[in-house]
């Protein structure tokens, strides 16, 4: 009976993703209730970083493109939310509008850049990341110039009690946003869309012979990824109550890229690792800098240096990131467990689902392995 229920859940991507969202949501709820205010704030930060990184990892892992402009897309979402909040909009429509605004800017960029291969998207998005923050200076009356726009903090509903901490409420909002992104992107990458994107990434000629319009799929991947970044930026304003040009420098976009590469390109779990790291790493390097009393020049630049070094080392030695390591570990443990318990429980549908993000990591290593699902003998 239980076995049959598990079979049903495995067979349907939608049910599987819902189960995932519920489980992750409950874990986050539990964590946020045990956390201090400071930790709750960090959780909220990690949640909005997750939105952006998940979008970026789908773009890089599924369609083989990379964007350096996601910091600027965050800025678009952030300013949209700040403007609308000051105009008296409610939270949910505000965030939805942030997504729409980002799409309006992201789609034309994706169209323009999908016409040529190679590093054009990277270059164009780089220009976007450097250029966009200046727009706020250009329209000081509308966008607040250097000082940016500030909004009022969200108020926890009265039903949660008067002593409910603001940070926890912000963490809840950000986590709900992250869960929505997780749900949408999980379904996207595990559906026909995800397969089409991977086909386009791995062999353009074969994909177009199979009837796929290459440019359109790449534009779609870019648009989805930009929308996720816009939501992340909107959540950032909800958490920090401030949208300034200085919050979205080129460095932010590069840091985001480092986050997805460290976590593991192409994997949603990798995006979660990356988000946690982006929040925790500056704290760690600060502690290190303080404990051995480095000069401010050095300690200020230490996190950035770490990101840069990690990007280089990861590309040279360990392109699959943290999630690649976790996967290797699971891969080593799982056959042992399966061998002990009689491997019949491992249905092939699950393999097919999980295989979705495996080649992304492996492909970065340069050796093109076939999908993991086809490599292993069928378990059932």
């Amino acid at each position: 009976m239980i076995r049959r229920a598990r079979g049903v859940v495995r067979a349907s991507t939608l049910l599987r993703s819902l189960a995932l969202v519920v489980v992750v949501g409950l874990v986050l709820l539990f964590l946020s209730n045990t956390f201090s205010a400071y930790r709750d704030l960090q959780l909220a930060e990690a949640a909005y970083y997750f939105c952006v990184l998940a979008g970026l990892t789908v773009l890089a892992g599924s369609s083989g493109q990379v964007s350096l402009g996601h910091g600027a897309f965050m800025a678009v979402g952030a300013y949209t939310v700040a403007k609308l909040a000051n105009a008296g909009w409610a939270l949910a429509p505000e965030l939805a509008a942030a997504v729409v605004a980002t799409l309006i800017i992201g789609i034309p960029m994706g169209v323009a850049c999908s016409r040529l291969r190679g590093p054009y998207l990277a270059g164009a998005t780089l220009a976007f990341a450097v250029g966009l923050p200046a727009v706020a200076d250009k329209f000081p009356a509308f966008l607040g110039g250097e000082n940016g726009l500030s909004i009022n903090p969200p108020t926890p509903p009265a039903s949660l009690g008067t002593t409910f901490p603001l940070e926890r409420w912000e963490a809840w909002i950000a986590c709900i946003g992250a869960l929505i992104v997780l749900f949408v992107l999980y379904n996207l990458t595990h559906s026909g869309v995800g397969r089409a994107l991977r086909a386009v990434r791995d062999d353009e000629i074969a994909a177009s012979l199979a009837g796929l319009r290459i440019g359109r799929w790449q534009t779609l991947a870019f648009a989805v990824s930009a929308a996720a970044a816009g939501l992340g930026g909107g959540l950032l304003v909800v958490v920090t109550q401030l949208a300034t040009p200085g919050a979205f420098p080129l460095q932010l976009s590069l840091t985001l890229l480092a986050g997805v590469v460290i976590g593991g390109l192409g994997s949603l779990w990798g995006a979660a690792w990356g988000a946690a790291l982006l929040v925790l790493l500056p704290n760690w390097t600060n502690d290190v800098a303080n404990s051995i009393s480095l000069s401010t020049n050095v300690s200020h630049n230490l996190p950035i240096a770490v990101y840069g070094a990690v990007l280089i080392v990861a590309m040279l030695m360990w392109p699959s990131g943290i999630q690649g390591g976790v996967r290797a570990l699971v891969g080593a443990v799982r056959p042992a467990l399966a061998g002990r318990g009689g491997s019949a429980g491992r249905s092939s549908t699950e393999r097919g689902g999980n295989a979705g993000d495996v080649p992304a990591g492996d492909r970065e290593a340069g050796d093109r392995v076939p999908e993991a699902g086809t490599k292993t003998p069928s378990g059932s």
Binding site: A60, G64, Q65, V66, P108, M109, V111, A112, C113, S114, R115, L116, R117, G118, P119, Y120, A122, G123, A124, L126, A127, F128, V130, G131, L132, A134, V135, D137, K138, R213, I214, G215, R216, T219, L250, Q251, L254, L257, A258, V261, N297, V298, H300, N301, L302, I304, A305, Y307, G308, A309, V310, L311, I312, A314, M315, L316, P319, R363, E364, G366
Partner: protein, 292 residues
């Protein structure tokens, strides 16, 4: 009208600098099919080295030579140590790698020299020429910039077209297997290509530093405009890079003159978008475009 003439003259001298950056990008693209996003940080680093030489008592000429030499060495080391392993990997790896290098170099420069911008001396006077009572925005230093960049471009053209070494480098870039069979040391040629490119980049850094100040991040817009110039010229063609650099120099000069400095990178982005939409192969190259 005088403002227009001033902006045009100014555009020619900044255009020469963009042309040098674009040349550096094109040289690397031709030899290894990689866009070197670390170029901006590499030329920032060599300019800081020149600045250190000059501020510790060295002459401008010494600083200039040291910048070019350190660019030559840095380019070669970067190719040998970090770029070589990803040359045959998927293009995304090289993009991420050069961005990592960019990030690392910016951080190291910040650690050594601090994040606040400092001034950098110019080779010649920064007072404009006087023609018929009005002072133009074109200075003796601008003349120097334009002449140096023309000199370097001609030198590179002669190297690639008239010498055996240039022929070997072109052969290594276009048909590495055949070149290797004929006894060309392909790896060495690729390293040399990166060294030359980084040297041209270092030149651009020293030339532009007096007008933008010198800080770890102050050359970001120049890299982007150089990239757009290279794409405009087709990313494959050195003459295209020079023309693209001049076009971008003029365009950005008008934008910053009439609309303000802040919009220059966005104007570059708009030009890039228009090029990619209307003529995605650039003005000079024969790359195949792809239909959406």
């Amino acid at each position: 009208m005088t403002k227009f003439i001033d902006l045009t003259l100014n555009g020619i001298s900044t255009g020469a600098i963009y042309a040098a950056v674009a040349l550096a990008l094109v040289l690397i693209w031709r030899s290894t099919r990689i866009v070197n996003f670390a170029q901006g940080a590499m030329l920032m680093f060599t300019t800081f080295i020149a600045s250190a030489v000059i501020s510790s008592g060295g002459s401008y000429v010494l600083g200039f030579v040291v910048a070019l030499a350190s660019g030559f060495v840095l380019g070669g080391v970067v190719e040998r140590v970090v770029v070589r392993p990803v040359e045959n990997a998927p293009p995304l790896n090289a993009v991420i790698l050069t961005l990592g290098l960019y990030t690392l170099l910016v951080a190291i420069a910040g650690m050594i020299w601090g994040n606040s911008p400092r001034s950098f001396p110019a080779a010649f006077s920064l007072h404009g020429y006087t023609v018929g009572g009005t002072t133009l925005l074109f200075t003796p230093n601008d003349t120097f910039i334009v002449l140096v960049v023309i000199f370097v471009a001609v030198l590179l053209a002669l190297l690639f077209r008239r010498t055996t070494l240039g022929l070997r480098m072109r052969a290594s870039a276009f048909a590495p297997e055949v070149a290797r069979l004929l006894g060309v040391r392909v790896g060495r040629m690729l390293t040399l290509g990166w060294s030359l490119a980084a040297m041209v980049g270092a030149l651009a850094g020293v030339l532009v530093a007096p007008s933008v100040f010198l800080g770890p991040n102050s050359f970001d817009p120049i890299l982007i405009i150089g990239f757009v110039a290279a794409v405009l010229g087709g990313l494959d063609s050195p003459p295209g890079a020079v023309v693209g650099g001049l076009v971008l120099g003029l365009a950005t000069s008008y934008v910053s003159g009439y609309e303000g400095d802040a919009l220059v990178p966005l104007a570059a982005l708009v030009i890039l978008m228009l090029v990619l939409m209307l003529r995605p192969t650039g003005l000079f190259a024969a790359t195949r475009e792809r239909r959406v």
